[in-house]
């Protein structure tokens, strides 16, 4: 099963096995990863599952949708070129080992 690594601002790492097809948001919530709220339930409408994806995995992800871009642009927390919403990242075998950094706050 592919794995995903969540890294907190204090450097704490959580390594999770994530079934293919499941989103990183759901995996994080199911495993109580600190800092992921996911208020809207996975529709790219709330911006409370913001993560910064390790640069190496950026080319492997589909481009963000218009809704995801709107939400990311509207966040108060610092957004980088590899910022994504965890609800929009569905795990695949290709993404095995993906590392995402969880920001200090959401929204």
């Amino acid at each position: 099963m592919p794995a995903a690594r969540f890294v907190g601002v204090d450097g704490t790492e959580v390594l999770l096995d994530v079934p293919a097809g499941q989103t990183l948001r759901q995996a994080a919530l199911d495993n109580l990863v600190p800092g992921i709220i996911g208020e809207c339930g996975g529709f790219a409408t709330c911006g409370t599952c913001h993560v910064v994806v390790d640069e190496r995995f950026r080319p492997l992800l589909p481009a963000p949708s218009e809704d995801e871009e709107i939400v990311l642009e509207g966040l108060l927390t610092p957004v980088t070129a590899t910022s994504r919403l965890a609800c929009q990242i569905a795990m695949t075998d290709e993404l095995d080992g993906i590392t995402v950094h969880v920001p200090e706050s959401q929204g």
Partner: protein, 428 residues
């Protein structure tokens, strides 16, 4: 029942068998607490639909794309049914304006139209945009507090503080003249009767009349402000609306704004007043926030959890839905008691307690799923500005009624009045 549901909705418990209608109508929060004690999370509502009170099942159903917006025909039909049941008479005619009001609200839309209209409204209420409005909110509130402290005496926290504050904030944002703000506040107060469980003929007539005047007033003044060309928010909304080429879209900017910012005028004022009262009634918590204003976010979230103003709304199964083995047929109305889920003991420790130190878990105050309230960020900002101001060292707010009770028989959680005395305190 949280983890085990029957296969058929017919095997769910029936609300009237467990809770007397008067008890539900009088205080559905207390009634829901009693249902939790019996292990109930989902019921038949006795009107042909489902009633959801549990946190987990509510979140799951809210996130199911097959559970969508409730068609206007259902809402207006049910409103008429309630008048008939309560009065034995036919509901008054002349509901065209009310029908248009509902039809232009994003929450009654489905599929591509919902996505498109929601996007137009929500993209201008993202956190970064809302932060840019906070200074304006602070200035408006200072003006309102100046007025009530100048007059002195007992005032109503909702009617005299939160109502003018929120209404003036939004009317300013939307270019509605200051002179019209008071009338807007009065009209949305009248329209609040639409949330009554057993409206009288007079209630219904007043809702229809107020809705017609509200749509005309807000629609006309917004259109005038847009034509002046000096309101960026309206410009963005108008351009977004122009880009929607779908049947059923709001016919013009005024209709879009009037229908979708109604809750901004009304429900937000109730939310601010309720959350403020929650905090002020808990002296140690209020003192903590006074000493550490960074706690206002937690204070508002907690107050809104316990006293969510819009207690329930109804969604509709657009197709057959299955959740944890329970099969919900297409066309089933599903009423989500958002405020009840905020108190589900399976989701919250000491659910009735007001605690500033809860883990950062947002409740269902603003709904859930793709239909989550697009204005929740602005609501939180307005609430946090208010709590910061009302707990500032330069202001003293004294509650004059320790237990103001709740208005019964309404889907809106609000006190009949929140009498307070507001004083300015000179710097030491």
């Amino acid at each position: 029942m949280g983890g085990s549901l029957p296969r058929s909705v017919d095997d769910l418990p029936l609300l009237p068998d467990l809770v007397a209608p008067q008890a539900w109508s009088a205080d559905l929060v207390a009634a829901s607490d009693g249902l939790f004690e019996r292990g109930v999370r989902v019921l038949r509502d006795g009107e042909g639909g489902l009633l959801v009170i549990g946190d987990a099942v509510m979140r799951a159903l809210a996130q199911d794309p097959a559970v969508g917006g409730t068609p206007v025909e259902f809402l207006t039909g049910r409103a008429g049914d309630r008048v008939r049941r309560a009065t034995g008479a036919a509901p008054p005619s002349g509901a065209a304006a009310f029908d248009a009001f509902l039809r232009n609200q994003v929450f009654t839309m489905n599929a591509a139209l919902h996505v498109a209209v929601r996007r137009v409204v929500a993209r201008h209420l993202v956190p970064r945009a809302v932060l840019g409005m906070a200074g304006h909110a602070e200035r408006v509130l200072v003006g309102v507090l100046d007025e009530v402290t100048r007059v002195g005496g007992v005032v109503d926290l909702e009617r005299d503080v939160a109502g003018p504050y929120v209404t003036r904030f939004w009317t300013d944002q939307l270019g509605v003249p200051a002179g019209a703000a008071l009338r807007v506040q009065q009209l949305v107060h009248e329209m609040n009767r639409m949330f009554l469980f057993a409206p009288t003929l007079e209630d219904r007539a007043r809702v229809l009349a107020a809705t017609e005047e509200y749509l005309e007033l807000v629609g006309r003044t917004v259109a005038m402000a847009w034509e002046r060309g000096d309101n960026a928010l309206l410009g963005h909304l108008a351009r977004g609306l122009d880009g929607i080429d779908l049947p059923g879209a709001p016919p013009d900017l005024g209709a879009l704004v009037a229908a979708n910012f109604f809750d901004g005028f009304h429900t937000v004022a109730v939310a601010v007043a309720n959350a403020a009262r929650c905090l002020l009634a808990d002296a140690p918590a209020a003192e903590r926030v006074r000493r550490a204003p960074s706690l206002v976010a937690a204070a508002f979230t907690e107050g809104a959890r316990l006293t969510a103003p819009l207690m329930l709304t109804t969604r509709m199964a657009l197709g057959d839905v299955e959740h944890a083995g329970l099969r919900i047929p297409a066309g089933t109305p599903i009423t989500m008691a958002w405020i009840a889920a905020n108190r589900d003991p399976e989701a919250y420790d000491e659910p009735g307690g007001y605690r500033l130190d809860r883990p950062p878990r947002l409740g269902t105050t603003f709904g859930g799923g793709a239909r989550i309230c697009p204005g929740r960020g602005a609501t939180r900002m307005l609430g946090e500005v208010a709590l910061r101001a009302l707990t500032a060292t330069s202001v003293q707010v004294r509650l004059e009624s320790p237990q103001p009770g709740w208005v019964p028989g309404s889907a809106i959680r609000r006190h009949p009045a929140i009498p307070v005395v507001v004083r300015r305190v000179a710097a030491a």
